[in-house]
Amino acid sequence: MSARQMKLGLFLWATGHHIAAWRHPDAHVTAGIDIDHYIALARTAEAGKFDMVFCEDAAGLREANVNIASQTSRSIGFEPISLLSALAARTERIGLVSTASTSYNEPYGLARTFASLDNLSGGRAGWNLVTSASPIEAANFGATGLRPHADRYARAREFATVITGLWNRRAAGHDGESFSVRDPLDIPPSPQGAPVMVQAGASDDGKDLAARTADVVFSAAQTFEEAKAFYDDLKARLAAYGRQPDDVKIMPGVAPIVAATKAEAQAKYDALQELIPDDVGVALLSSYLSISDLGRYQIDGPLPELPESEGMKSRQALVIEQARRDGLSIRELARYFAGARGHWRVVGTAAQIADELQARFEGGAADGFNVMPSWFPGELDAFATMVVPELQRRGLFRKDYEGRTLREHLGLKRSV
């Protein structure tokens, strides 16, 4: 018997992860600002025994070009701590993980907020630490612009030290480079002690910070080899911080499209791809590559040589490698990328998708997966009713919750 079971997160995103999801004929077009939509999604995931729902975040517009932005649904949506606090009152068991920035918050404030979410939910809160790489966000928080990568991570390291000290009731009093905090946290200890710490940065700085502080790491990997390399790299870094390999759960993103037959699943995917306007796909790709405008290059030509950016270093490398490997034109890469935003796309039957997930899980490339349905609710419903039962039949995923808290779902020690 195999005691080890995979972890599943549901990555929430308004109408869905596909850039054109909102244009899908059955997509609920107002989803991003509809609380009932999110309550229904969270309950579907809870019925499917998912470990957690997860919200990504940006404190600002995601696209500087207003005309491009207006062709996507991504300029509008709930602030995730508000959303998850609301979901806490309408769900029972599922974990609630919100992103929040170390660049635009103070540790005492976030410590209070997440402790409150942990208390509201009976111990189901998690915090995804980001340093915020977007200059659009930076402009909402002062006139100095985006800080360099290394500075953001220095602040993030100090932030993580202070916030975990507050949650774990270590001696108060911190006077550091970026932060000063005098008092202990003025919210009583929450059920988990410290909410679950999540990270997704895949740069060297990001991986080191994750190895030191994270309980869960989200990653993006197209191939088994990339996923395995990331997994081994991160787990190998843990020993330096006195941690065991099992102390961190690595959960790559997966964007599944499931149907009764492979052909039917492929047809669903193709139909979505057709809904992506070229300029939107190219702009999205430009933004993830952190370069100002790919639109000035031939859309049917290859990706040009690109300088290393201050924004998302690791993600840039991933996308460029993809293009070179498959000999893709800008248009092809843009479409491919827009569909799953650089994450792993699997298209097929429930059994085929379960095979793929099982291979990465048992091959030592993942402890679980962060599921990114292409559009809501359709692809979530399909995954929850087709793939989850298949994983359960194979003994790879729980049939019911055993614990109450997110830490218990994930098999993590209570923080000390």
């Binding site: 909102w22 244009r23 899908h24 004929p25 997509a27 077009v29 107002t30 600002i33 609380i35 940006a58 404190a59 600002g60 517009l61 995601r62 207003v66 932005a69 207006s70 062709q71 996507t72 300029s75 509008i76 709930f78 602030e79 701590i81 508000s82 959303l83 606090s85 609301a86 806490a88 009152a89 309408r90 635009y104 918050n105 103070e106 005492y108 404030g109 209070r112 907020t113 402790a115 409150s116 979410l117 208390n119 509201l120 659009i136 402009a139 909402n140 928080f141 002062g142 006077d175 970026s178 932060f179 000063s180 905090v181 005098r182 008092d183 003025d186 919210i187 009583p188 929450s190 306007p277």
Partner: protein
């Protein structure tokens, strides 16, 4: 008469805070009695540490999904949040609650805040006031960044929103620089309601110009009338309709609050309504719910029907509109 309940969940040290179920149960009772809004605060202005398990904005998010009509106001400090984040939090809460949310912006500096938020030197009162005023202006400006009809949802045409109806803030001030816009749509009630409390006279002009609701400190009906008569003309002088600002008197409902004393308030109507402040104490909540609420509910039969489902509707504020 408009009715509000202020609940301070920062219970005293040594006593367990109220649970979510206890708070939600109380708020639903108050809602059933047609109270316009409940205002939640989570820290002691005196600087004593709170032992509440909840922070106010996250608590009202949870309450929004288990109530239907009552307004939900949270106190939030201008030192504990960046203005962009706070504007976005309340704009989100306002859509989650279908237009029932307000922000209680206190002008008092809590001594525990600066020292825990990397500002050990703190602010002088004058600096704090100028900073808070700039902050409130930014928040209200961000709340108006998207026109009410900006979202098109045009699947076939591929147009999600009209970029001409989204407006940058481009604020550059003494304390803050914020480009905007928020990444959330316009509020169902135009903007969240701005509540101000703990005011001193130096802040009256500002509050009369920008606040939707002012909560006065406790005092006799005569004192309250004097304060209200001072504030209303300032609002009119700032070009506002008198009904655009609601001034509520604060009452401490202990055993000393008898039916006769309540009668005085209802008969003299010294201002727009009453705000009952309650501690995080189950017996105090029960006393209020069992003794005072039935009295209020009886009087409510004589009140005009609510004009709308939003907090602005409850308060008869109309929409916020462009300034």
């Amino acid at each position: 008469m408009h009715l509000a309940v202020s609940l301070d969940i920062a219970s005293v040290t040594g006593r367990a805070g109220l649970t979510l179920a206890e708070i939600a149960g109380f708020v639903r009772k108050v809602e059933a009695a047609a109270v316009d809004m409940v205002a939640i605060s989570d820290s002691w202005p005196s600087g004593k540490p709170s032992t509440s398990p909840f922070e106010a904005t996250t608590l009202i998010a949870a309450l929004a999904t288990v109530t239907e009509k009552i307004g939900l106001v949270a106190s939030a400090s201008t030192l504990m949040h960046q203005p962009y984040n706070l504007a976005r939090r309340f704009a989100s809460l306002d859509i989650i609650s279908h237009g029932r949310v307000g922000w209680n912006a206190t002008m008092r500096q809590n001594p525990r805040e600066a020292v825990n938020f990397s500002r050990p030197e703190g602010f002088s009162d004058a600096d704090f006031r100028r900073r808070a005023q700039e902050y409130i202006g930014i928040v209200q400006g961000l709340w108006r960044g998207w026109d009410a009809d900006a979202l098109l949802f045009d699947k076939a045409g591929g147009r999600f929103h009209d970029p001409g109806k989204m407006h940058m803030l481009d604020h550059k001030g003494e304390f803050f620089s914020v480009r905007g816009p928020l990444n959330i749509a316009r509020s169902p009630q135009d903007t969240p309601v701005l509540v101000m409390s703990g005011l001193v006279e130096a802040e009256f002009d500002f509050a009369a110009r920008f606040a939707d609701v002012i909560l006065l400190g406790d005092g006799s009906p005569a004192n309250v009338k004097a304060a209200c008569d001072d504030l209303k003309p300032r609002a009119i002088a700032a070009g506002r309709e008198p009904k655009a600002l609601r001034v509520l008197a604060t009452i401490l409902p202990g055993p000393q609050l008898t039916a006769d004393r309540l009668d005085d308030w209802f008969e003299t109507e010294p201002c727009d309504g009453l705000n009952f402040t309650l501690p995080a104490d189950l017996s105090a909540l029960d006393d209020f719910a069992d003794r005072i609420l039935p009295n209020l509910r009886r009087r409510d039969l004589a009140r005009p029907a609510r004009t709308g489902a939003t907090l602005r509707g409850n308060l008869g504020l109309g929409t916020g509109g462009e300034r």
